[in-house]
């Protein structure tokens, strides 16, 4: 059966319209606005690059670098913690796997706002960490650097986005054909060698998807750095919110948002490339 090209067009129309209205149009608007200026809280159409040159100022540059550095660290930590969990779940656990999977997904049912607040309670000077450390006598003064530091932001973001790494890796490892590992062992590979030569390369698509799903929201995160990082750990999401909501610098805000998007896009394309395994259909 051959489907004519013309018959597909009406079927695609709703999707195209949706995409155009809620995605392409706003971005195009932001792109245009990012070259305008704001005077007296009013957008003034013009064409200037000042919004972009402003980004090169040390203040904003350091925020951009910090944002991508934190997102990268969060992604790497999520991968290091998440991969073994996904592996154990997919390759070792048999009867309890649905139960454990549910436990992993369960936190997603609560708001990430709540989860961020929870970390404040855990990391604060009178929080669980300090209570424990003082209890066993490691310190007698509460540790102050737990909260309102990069450490707090990173640990919370890893916790919040970890399920997004575990699930795609689990899906890939669950589908991995046992016979490939048997063949590897039959040909003389130790379990460790089999892991490095067969399991890990074949889980690359899942790892790449997982990294993508962690990196993107981590780079754009706003609530967690606001609550746990405080004013010293400013990330780009907070700055964008300030520009739109506090100082009404829509033009500069648009430039910031587009810069964040472009940065994420470059990382995403890189990750997708890494996730492509030659020979896999």
């Amino acid at each position: 059966m051959r489907t004519g090209r013309s018959s597909i067009v009406p079927l695609l129309t709703p999707a195209t319209a949706w995409f155009g209205l809620f995605f392409a149009l706003p971005i195009a608007a932001m792109l245009v606005v990012s070259f305008w200026v704001v005077a007296n809280y009013q957008l003034v159409p013009t064409f200037t690059l000042t919004n972009y040159t402003k980004l090169a100022q040390p203040l904003y540059l350091s925020i951009i670098v910090r944002t991508f550095a934190i997102a990268t660290i969060v992604t790497i930590l999520a991968a290091l913690v998440g991969y073994p969990v996904a592996y154990y779940l997919a390759r070792r656990l048999k009867r309890l796997r649905v139960f454990v999977l549910t436990l992993i997904v369960l936190p997603l049912w609560t708001s990430y706002l709540v989860r961020s607040f929870a970390w404040m309670l855990v990391l604060g000077t009178s929080g669980a960490f300090n209570w424990f450390l003082q209890g066993i006598g490691v310190t007698d003064q509460p540790v102050r650097w737990f909260l309102y530091t990069e450490f707090a932001v990173i640990i919370a973001l890893v916790h919040i986005y970890l399920p997004f790494f575990i699930l795609p890796v689990f899906a890939v490892l669950d589908k991995l054909d046992d016979r490939l590992l048997e063949a590897s062992s039959d040909l003389g590979a130790s379990p460790w060698t089999s892991f490095w030569t067969v399991t890990l390369p074949l889980s690359r698509p899942g790892i790449s998807t997982g990294c993508l799903l962690v990196f993107i929201p981590a780079a754009g995160s706003y609530v967690s750095p606001e609550l746990l990082g405080g004013p010293s750990v400013l990330m780009i999401g907070s700055v964008i919110a300030q520009q739109f909501g506090l100082v009404f610098e829509y033009a500069f805000g648009s430039a910031l948002a587009l810069t964040l998007m472009t940065g994420i896009l470059i990382v995403a394309l890189g990750l997708l490339r890494i996730g492509k395994v030659q020979g896999l259909k």
């Binding site: 016979r179 490939l180 063949a183 039959d186 040909l187 590979a189 395994v277 030659q278 020979g279």
Partner: protein, 384 residues
């Protein structure tokens, strides 16, 4: 009355002196399911041995135990005289070819074939030369840089063979390697496998549920049933001299005459059946034994003239099915005895095969084979 089962000696016992693989009282169960029930078996060096049976008979489990992918619950497996249960696969002289090939999808053909050599700390240059030579043997030199997903089923099969053979195993274990191929390709690969086995002079242990494959490829066939060995022997022995009804029916069509042994003569046993007296050959039987006399369709002689010679019966044509090269004809004889024959579709007798006609059939004494009547029908009489 005596117990019938167990009296019949296994045919074609393999000689133990030259056996490469010795399986001794091996048991294996998965939970409550017994996959292998006390199997002892000796497989000869350089033979093409087939483990034949329906799915669930334990043939694959037995193969995997030889290859070290499963561990027996009890019993021992020796290869070339050495017990191998505790050996990891790299120390075993066996290599496995998996049912769906299990090629590494992210590696090129070349890398797949090199995989086993790389695990053996062989210099790169030597690996390269060996891989190239092995790919040449299976005729895939131009595909060295291709990925498995770019190959046809037959080519993937050859890569799987090359990957195993390049490590120079003494025993190649093949788990239904042709099951995924279509008929034409399967037949071609059968011929290739056979010639590969001859030229490489290694022992093949081949698992299949396809009796044609088993009979056509093997030097020895081991027929398995519910985790036990039902019979082992050459393909001809298995086919013409089956030990029991299960084996007889698994490897081909049979017609059965139920009877009782009356006298033992030089030419065979004289048996009394509802369709008359017949002389049949068979293993040790005693007069009075209840037996099945079985015959393969192609062994039945169709004589148009009404003879009244020995081992003949008059039978009516029930149905005839044209199958191209031959015709499958169902006859009904005296006392509702059913006889199936196949005759060449070009034979002169073929013209006489008209449903409803009565014809004389001869069941030659050499082709009429005795097997014990099913045990359950004699169970009540078998008490000491």
């Amino acid at each position: 009355m005596t117990i019938l089962a167990g009296k019949i000696e296994p045919m074609g016992t393999m000689t133990a002196e030259h056996s490469l693989i010795e399986i001794d009282r091996v048991r294996k169960s998965f939970g409550a399911h017994t996959a292998i029930d006390n199997v002892s078996l000796a497989l000869g060096e350089g033979h093409f041995v087939t483990l034949l049976g329906p799915s669930g008979c334990g043939k694959t489990t037995l193969l995997r135990m030889i290859g070290g992918l499963e561990t027996p619950n009890s019993g021992s497996i020796r290869i070339a005289g050495t017990p191998v249960e505790s050996f990891s696969p790299i120390d075993r002289p066996t290599r496995m070819v998996f049912q769906s090939y299990a090629l590494f999808p992210h590696m090129t053909v070349e890398k797949n074939v090199a995989y086993g050599l790389q695990r053996r700390r062989i210099p790169d240059a030597e690996i390269k030369a060996k891989v190239a030579a092995q790919l040449d043997v299976v005729g895939l030199s131009e595909k060295a840089k291709s990925y498995p997903s770019e190959l046809s089923g037959g080519q993937q099969q050859r890569v799987a063979l090359a990957r195993a053979l390049v490590t120079k195993p003494r025993v190649l274990l093949l788990d239904e390697p042709l099951a995924a191929l279509d008929l034409k390709l399967r037949q071609r690969m059968q011929a290739e496998l056979k010639s590969l086995q001859r030229s490489a002079a290694i022992t093949f242990v081949y698992v299949t549920h396809d009796q044609h494959e088993a009979l056509g490829l093997s030097d020895r066939v081991v027929v398995m049933e519910k985790g036990r060995v039902a019979q082992r022997g050459t393909p001809a022995e298995i086919y013409h001299r089956p030990a029991n009804r299960y084996v007889a029916e698994f490897v081909g069509d049979i017609s059965i005459l139920d009877g009782t042994v009356r006298t033992i003569e030089d030419g065979g046993a004289r048996i009394e059946t509802p369709a008359g007296m017949f002389v049949a050959s068979g293993p040790t039987v005693r007069s009075g034994d209840k037996v099945h006399a079985i015959i393969r369709p192609e062994s039945v002689r169709v004589a148009v003239a009404s003879g009244d010679g020995a081992n003949t019966l008059r039978a009516t044509v029930e149905s005839a099915t044209f199958r191209g090269a031959d015709m499958l004809v169902e006859f009904r004889g005296p006392a509702d005895v059913r006889i199936q024959t196949s005759i060449s579709s070009t034979a002169p007798e073929a013209a006489a095969i008209i449903p409803g006609h009565t014809i004389t059939l001869e069941l030659p004494a050499t082709a009429l084979w005795l097997i014990p009547a099913e045990r359950n029908s004699n169970a009540s009489e078998s008490s000491p």
